[in-house]
Symmetry: C2
Subunit: 223 residues, 2 copies
């Protein structure tokens, strides 16, 4: 039997590439996407397109309402910054988001008896997010080994972060090499009529990535 | 300012006692309860009663659907065992449940700037559940310190498990000492018309606890 991988799929460029890597690594893939009260709900539609294009075995959309707690520009009424200037932990950081996402992935992995969880976190572009750092991922993996039946039985799930140390241009090269169609992905934090704003941090990082990669930017931007 | 504690409140006897201990420890308390597709949804009503009786600052009910993944007698169509016989990991174990619950508590703690998360897990009665063991809790705490802004800034949240090594009779004595009204709590995995079945593992453990404590069992049982 082929190994199974749960892949956290946001609909953005990074997670689409992580999914392609899981497939390339010989895994049957199970995609998991969250509707968590984010402003940029169009990314859920992007996730559906990516999952379909890459032929996953199953794709679940999990509804959780992180707005209950507030605390981030991505889920509350705080404006998404568009001036490119920020230091420290960005206002778009959602408290414990990756911990929650990985916990759900862990539950599904336990039921599927999946050996791996892929998450496309990146510590280069998102250095201000505590839960995108390698030490967080390692600690989560240790905890997961103790939390689950699989772990107790000697088969702890591995958390795979193939993009964690790559600059965006490298991720774009890698994804292109694996046949990822970036035109169906969505990275914008604050889309206008389903199109990328071109001004938020996420759009800037993506634009700079295509530029550095020397690859045409296939993103559809609002006028 | 008094320290703040997020308390995971299931509506059962243990979490009601954990809440009382958080208050007794001088914390302002914030209760969090989950509707997760469990058979025993009456426990959510019990949690409301307990939160009100103990005067929490706030109480949130978080909807998450663990039925999406199946895998447990508590959330799927598998029958809850009533014969008291089981070895290894029980069929009522819900994959990664405490990991998911603690992750949400962590998010709320981050927003509230709470210093502590109380969880009434017990490794004596629930020795077969991997995520009720002290080593799991310690690993979660380590991960949480790396996952959050508070942790990065040198104020990692503490996961407090005051009941983890206590037999049920001791928990009942402790709760009674702190004024917990056990008659409004609900522990049954498979209630009948809102009343305890008296036959599932959770009911048996509770009955034995009252017996060992030498305290009248105030639980309302189905005929």
């Amino acid at each position: 039997m082929r190994p199974r991988a749960v892949v956290l799929l946001s609909g953005g460029l990074d997670s689409a590439t992580a999914l392609a890597l899981a497939k390339f690594g010989g895994c049957d893939t199970y995609a998991m996407t969250f509707r968590y009260g984010q402003r940029h709900a169009v990314e859920v539609e992007a996730a559906r397109r990516v999952a379909a294009a890459q032929g996953v075995k199953d794709h679940v959309i999990v509804d959780i309402d992180l707005r209950t707690f507030g605390g981030s520009a991505l889920t509350s009424d705080v404006l998404v910054p568009k001036d490119g200037a920020s230091t420290g932990i960005p206002i778009t950081y959602v408290p414990a988001r990756n911990t929650i996402f990985l916990s759900f992935a862990l539950a599904w992995a336990e039921v599927l008896e999946a050996q791996r969880i892929y998450i496309g976190v990146n510590a280069v572009d998102y250095s201000g997010y505590p839960d995108c750092r390698p030490e967080f991922v390692t600690a989560f993996e240790t905890m997961a080994g103790l939390a689950t039946k699989a772990g107790v039985e000697g088969n702890p799930v591995r958390i795979v972060t193939p993009l964690i140390n790559l600059p965006k241009a490298k991720i774009i090269h890698l994804g292109a090499e694996l046949g990822v169609d970036f035109s169906i992905t969505s990275s914008c934090y604050d889309p206008v009529d389903g199109l990328a704003c071109g001004q938020c941090d996420s759009c800037r990082i993506r634009q700079d990535g295509f530029k550095a990669a020397g690859t045409p930017d296939v993103t559809r931007y609002a006028a």
